[in-house]
């Protein structure tokens, strides 16, 4: 096949990049080699536009065992245990085929975790759809939710937390981000770095079919009107086979047969073999005749670029092949030695006794292009709307409209489709600030949460980046967990657009500042560019997944009110910031102005103080104040608990809307047992923490003194109905 300009473009490469390939090879590549370059050099695998920015992020603290660069990040949680976790996007495939796209997204992230020797213990997700009025949204929502459930439920790993959002910016490009969390013994971690020459390279798992050929390139190209034609490349997930693969791998990992192991994810056999060889500073030869194929007459090109799911590449110690094969036979999985490690640092592929590709490993990895793309700054938007004159707006109606809106409704309709309890260690299910998973057979737990806030990030990326890290940190604190580290999934538009690149660069600056100040490093993650269609880019949507440690889980702190007659305190100062708030969006349809300011000093002080109160057993429930403001957070504390609250307006209240719907940051609501109130007040004073007593818990009624009172059952119905009616 001749390599024409069209062929190069079809592979997502530029002419300059093709010239560089010829330079590196000192000759023209053949079509197979071109395919391999295109897979390794695309945005998804090479991070060519993002690398120079990602380098700025903090990646270490005293708990971090493994930062970015491996299949997943790892943190030490003490007692010889470690937690492995990562988040990844599967946006484009999910838009094309929502069920399979979401399902294989879950499958892929699980493999990243168990590849490292960890047994997955929790799944989370962050899913974003277009506006509910968009005709595609309903099918996409149904498909994605059943796909996530279909995979997680079948493989038997609880899906414990997540977020679902609707915004017209995702009308033609939904986001499906899946996070997996696993538990591993610190001395039993497996890495992808190859070691030793002449070692067997083994293919295990499912057979290779013509699934998702060019999937990785697809994930790095904008949708256009012929996306429909790209459809045949969608992969089908098989959670049953993945369960077998997981058990087989974990069984093999009990002894010392494995030198290194890597999941065949995006760009399948190509990226797994190149990454293992590159990290090990050696080469690899593969005999493609040996690759187990599902279809007849598959070409080397198809084998190398197939994205068939549920496959792994393993490098084995000498003489361990037979024992290892026995394990895979037991689980009815393919196990084939397809090649070996070699001293020459090259990827050499053989097919029917011919050498069909011969590429220096470095050319595919460290020599891949890196771009310092041009970017523009986003100025802090001016405060143009005047929120002082809202006389025509009814407070109660606004409040009810927000809690019954698509974005702020109760999400039971979704979470009941996920098995949240399998493995029997789920202490706190979805619906609180974070989920709590007990470490199996130990009196210790982790809290996990995912967050995003695209509106804030769109308005001012630096502030948005900071805010989202802080919110995630706050969510873990609210469960009594000490936040340790995060993983991030950075969903952005086309990086060749200077404004988008600017959003990316500045979001990273924001994330970096917050992570550094809070000692909350990034240990793994994924960048997804080219989200958008026909030049319309999505709002910048970084998603943060955080993990924290709870030393004594039996206290079981969550957001639900516990008893009648207790004081509810608002920690942190309320300025009444309404720009970019749920109130402004949902009620006034105003989307302008800056996001709420982040004061990292207050954020940290308030958070650490709340954590200390929890430790000293002085609080009964905690909830962070986020989208919708204080009134919505108070409603959430009531609804699940069936206990009401009588909220008092502060004296000298200027603007009820600003006070109760304002989204100022660094705030928490806490319920204090009446017997502990004086003690807590003293501590607040001593630590100089700003607070107000905002209400008292009561039976049955959710009440704002002088404004309205509503039965909890009624409130709960209003909060619950959106999904069931959609």
């Amino acid at each position: 096949m001749n390599i024409t300009k069209e062929v190069i473009q079809k592979h997502g490469l530029t002419i300059e990049e093709f010239v560089k390939i010829k330079d590196l090879l000192q000759r023209e590549p053949n079509i197979l080699e071109l395919g391999i370059f295109s897979a390794m050099w695309n945005e998804h695998c090479s991070y060519k536009s993002s690398k120079i920015h990602l380098k700025k992020l903090p990646t270490k603290n005293k708990n971090v065992i493994q930062g970015p660069g491996e299949n997943a990040g790892i943190i030490d949680i003490g007692d010889g245990d470690a937690i492995v976790f990562k988040i990844e996007s599967h946006n484009h495939p999910s838009f094309i085929e929502p069920y399979q796209g979401a399902a294989t997204g879950v499958g892929g992230i699980l493999r990243d975790v168990f590849t490292m020797g960890a047994r997955p213990i929790a799944l989370l997700n962050s899913i974003h759809f277009g506006s509910p009025e968009n005709t595609k949204t309903r099918n996409l929502l149904h498909g994605v939710v059943s796909g996530i459930g279909g995979y997680g439920n079948c493989i038997g790993i609880p899906t414990v937390a997540g977020e679902t959002k609707f915004n017209q910016t995702y009308n033609e490009n939904i986001l499906v981000n899946a996070m997996a969390v696993g538990l591993v013994k610190k001395n039993k971690i497996f890495y992808s770095k190859a070691k030793g020459i002449g070692k067997s390279v083994v293919y295990v798992g499912s057979k290779t079919g013509r699934d998702g050929i060019h999937g990785a390139s697809m994930a790095s190209a904008e949708f256009d009107d012929d996306s429909e034609e790209k459809k045949p490349t969608v992969q089908v997930g098989d959670p049953f086979t993945e369960k077998l693969l997981m058990e087989a791998c974990l069984e093999l990992m009990k002894d010392k047969s494995i030198i290194s192991i890597q999941d065949m994810g995006a760009a399948g056999l190509t990226s797994s073999s190149v990454e293992m060889a590159f990290k090990g500073d050696l080469g690899m030869e593969i005999n493609l005749d040996k690759v187990p194929c599902r279809e007849e007459k598959m070409t080397p090109y198809e084998m190398m670029l197939s994205e068939s799911q549920e496959r792994m590449l393993i490098i084995l110690e000498d003489g361990k092949e037979n024992e290892a094969k026995k394990i895979f036979d037991k689980w009815d999985l393919d196990f084939v030695v397809i090649g070996k490690t070699i001293e020459t640092k090259k990827l050499k592929l053989y097919y029917k006794n011919d050498i069909v590709a011969d590429i220096p490993i470095e050319a595919l990895s460290s020599s891949a292009p890196q771009y310092e793309r041009k970017w523009t700054k986003t100025e802090l938007p001016k405060k143009e709307t005047n929120f002082k004159n809202l006389k025509k707006i009814n407070f109660k109606e606004s409040f009810l409209k927000i809690i019954s809106s698509s974005n702020h409704s109760n999400k039971n309709w979704i979470t009941e489709q996920y098995d949240q309890m399998v493995m029997c260690d789920t202490i706190q299910k979805s619906g609180s600030d974070a989920a709590i998973i007990r470490i199996h057979k130990k009196n210790k737990a982790i809290a996990v949460a995912v967050d995003s806030s695209a509106n804030y990030c769109k308005s001012h990326p630096i502030t948005g980046g900071k805010q989202i890290v802080c919110e995630n940190w706050r969510n873990l604190i609210s469960m009594g967990a000490k936040p340790i580290a995060i993983t991030n999934c950075l969903n952005f538009g086309n990086p060749e657009n200077q404004e988008v690149m600017g959003q990316f660069a500045e979001t990273i600056i924001g994330i970096k500042e917050a992570c550094e100040y809070l000692d909350y490093p990034v240990v793994s993650g994924n960048v997804s560019f080219y989200n958008g269609t026909n030049k319309k880019n999505i709002f910048p949507t970084p998603v943060i997944g955080g993990v924290g440690i709870i030393q004594k889980p039996e206290k079981n702190i969550n957001h639900l009110f516990k008893e009648v007659g207790n004081s509810v305190l608002l920690i942190g100062k309320t300025f009444g910031h309404l720009y970019q708030s749920a109130f402004s969006n949902e009620i006034l349809s105003i989307n302008e102005g800056p996001p709420p300011e982040i004061n990292l000093i207050n954020e940290k002080n308030n958070g650490e103080f709340v954590l200390e109160l929890i430790k000293q057993n002085l609080v009964l429930s905690v909830h962070d104040v986020s989208a919708g403001g204080t009134i919505v957070s108070l409603a959430e504390m009531s609804i699940g608990s069936s206990l009401g609250v009588k909220i008092e307006k502060p004296k000298n209240l200027n603007n009820i809307f600003e006070y109760f719907f304002g989204e100022d940051q660094g705030r928490y609501l806490i319920e204090i047992d009446k017997n502990n109130l004086e003690k807590v007040k003293e501590l607040l004073k001593k630590n100089n923490i700003f607070h107000e007593i905002i209400g008292i818990t009561q039976k049955d009624k959710f009440e704002l003194a002088g404004e309205f009172s509503i039965d909890i059952k009624e409130l709960s119905k209003i909060n619950n109905k959106w999904y069931y009616n959609y």
Binding site: E97, Q100, S206, D211, P232, V234, Q235, V236, T241, D332
Partner: protein, 79 residues
Amino acid sequence: MKFSVTVTLKKDVLDPQGKVVQQTLQNMGMKTLKDLRQGKYFEVDINENDEKLAKDKVDEMCKKLLANLIIEDFKISKL
């Protein structure tokens, strides 16, 4: 006018269910079984006298709902 519609996964798409059923039958001793793929079957009764028009209608039903054209093929036969 009655038609039957068979919906199956496209040839190159992985069929996990078919694969497991095939392995099980083979393990049960059905040694001559070579390949098995699973699908869905519908019977559609349509108020239309013209066969071509009726078939077009069923074709439309398949394309719009019964089959997921991204991963499935369909076959229509008159009953």
